[in-house]
């Protein structure tokens, strides 16, 4: 069992390494992509400068805290896209029958299918996230917690993308729905939860899990709370398991009915 995990890890590590090597083949565009993404995120802060000139508390957060919120939104997005970029292209992989190559390998089909590409601009997001940590006020505790939530949040975003991508097993033209669904997370993650109310807030903590990926972690970053910390950890595990389960069900359907491969 342990050996199998180790072997799988070796594979995944190699796949990600090769993905990075590919992105770095063209050094100029690798660095431009990263730089522009950092500038891109920074430019969105102009909006908040204007808004905070009108009011010094938005959704219960100060300007500094909003910068940290942006930082976390960027780093979770960055983490998920940097290493698991192909989870956002999963519907395409399924529809074009590219999954077959992974099915015949003696490794985890899902994990191999989501680690075939690396996005260079996503490293810009990651860097931007940590820049915000320094602006907010660096401490080892904050740095550690921020890293921890970057990973949990990133994995939740990946899990959400896997669930949306797996729709391709069950319906036609799910690709655009998946794209739009993945956009939802980005849009909500860059605004404070305090401005939302009632039903929407409920959705943001359940079906569209921005609350667990970003909002609660932000609260923990500002004011550490062990209960909330554990809630985030367990819900992350829950979402990952749910994504794996849905993918597994889809894969089973793919193998038994095989609606797609008939579209030769």
């Amino acid at each position: 069992m342990l050996m199998a995990v180790k072997n799988q890890a070796r594979c995944t590590f190699l796949a990600i390494k090769y993905g990075i090597v590919k992105e770095m083949l063209n050094r100029v565009s690798f660095i431009t992509n990263i730089t522009f993404m950092i500038l891109n995120n920074a430019s969105m802060l102009i909006q908040w400068i204007v808004l905070y000139s009108l009011k010094d508390n938005i959704g219960g957060y100060t300007f500094k805290e909003i910068m940290l919120l942006w930082g976390l939104a960027a780093s979770t997005y960055g983490f998920s896209h940097a290493f698991f970029y192909s989870s956002f292209k999963l519907s395409d992989t399924i529809n074009k029958g590219k999954l077959d190559a992974f099915i015949v390998q003696p490794k985890n089909v899902l994990l191999n299918a989501i680690t075939t590409h690396v996005s260079s601009s996503a490293f810009g997001d990651l860097i931007f996230g940590y820049l915000m940590v320094f602006i907010y006020g660096f401490s080892f505790k904050l740095f550690f917690l921020f890293t921890f939530f970057t990973i949990t949040g990133g994995l939740i975003i990946v899990a959400f993308a896997i669930i949306l991508g797996s729709l391709a097993f069950f319906m036609d033209s799910s690709e655009l729905i998946a794209d739009n669904g993945n956009n939802l997370i980005v849009h909500f993650a860059t605004y404070p939860d305090g401005i939302f109310k009632g039903f929407v807030k409920l959705i943001l903590f359940t079906i569209v899990p921005v609350g667990i990926a970003n909002y609660i972690p932000l609260q923990v970053l500002i004011n550490f709370d062990i209960v909330k910390f554990l809630i985030v950890l367990s819900l992350t595990i829950f979402f990952i398991s749910l994504a794996c389960l849905i993918f597994k069900l889809g894969l089973k359907k793919y193998s038994s009915t095989n609606l797609m491969s008939a579209r030769i």
Binding site: C11, Y18, D100, I103, V104, P106, S255, L259
Partner: protein
Amino acid sequence: MTAIKVENLSKTFKVKVKDKGLKGSIKSIFKPKYKEIKAVKDISFEVEKGEIIAFIGPNGAGKSTTIKMLTGILFADEGNVEVLGISPNKERKKLAYEIGTVFGQKEQLWMHLTPYDNFKFFGAIYDIPNSVAEKRIENLKMLFELEEFMDTPVRNLSLGQRIRCEIVASLIHEPKVLFLDEPTIGLDPVVKENIRALIKRMNKELKTTIFLTSHDVGDIEKLCKRVIIINHGRIVLDDSMEHLKYNYLNKKIIEVKMKEKVNLEDEPGITILKDKGYNLKIEVDTKDKNVADVIKLLDPDKIIDINISNIPLENIISDIYKNEEK
């Protein structure tokens, strides 16, 4: 020893049927209509260890579906499959360590990496220690003549070189059975010939059982001792190559355009298929007559144009059907 055992295998696809236009699109969202297509109908066969078997048939005959069921990508609706004693549905991962697959139309390699890096990656996928992988890569490099382009990114290789790399990548873990789905598709004749020779050598040296699908008669002629022909999801012939050759593959079609009219009549080994005076179409049975002799009969000086070809697979199949009916 049996490597592959297939009993009464069947597979039906459901295909969504859509009416034309916007109305049809909307209708199909709410009330999808399905058409059933029987891709594989009740087929049974066995393959011995070390054998090269060709599984041939025209496009859409059910070849790929069968190979997908043998490798665990698809589950069978009915029937039983065992590869090396393992059921592909139940123990996909276990089987994956024992078999190799090459899909001629689908890339498994990383395009921006060199063949060497790719092979190392496949080594990791099959849990092969680095030192062992190095040694095998070295051997396979010799066997498949990859020296020249070991360090060239795969995307810069020609199609033939790429296929060779695909095959090597699927051999790193020394599979006992290798599935080749249309390995020579899209290749030019010289390269095809080269790939066939390599496959044959590999079978001899590594003792790998090879299950090969193709719609190219040439592939089987050169490679296999046994052939299974499939059409419309059914096995129409499961026979030794020798027998098949004797009955079907020894026939050539000669089409000639002559300066003058010739009088040629049916005789043992020669069948006139079409005679339009100056244009002739002749079937030659090479058991009884050499192609060269036929050309001599025609008087080579008077030939304007000549075309000699094999009987197309489609004709062989329809021939087999006709014989069955008799």
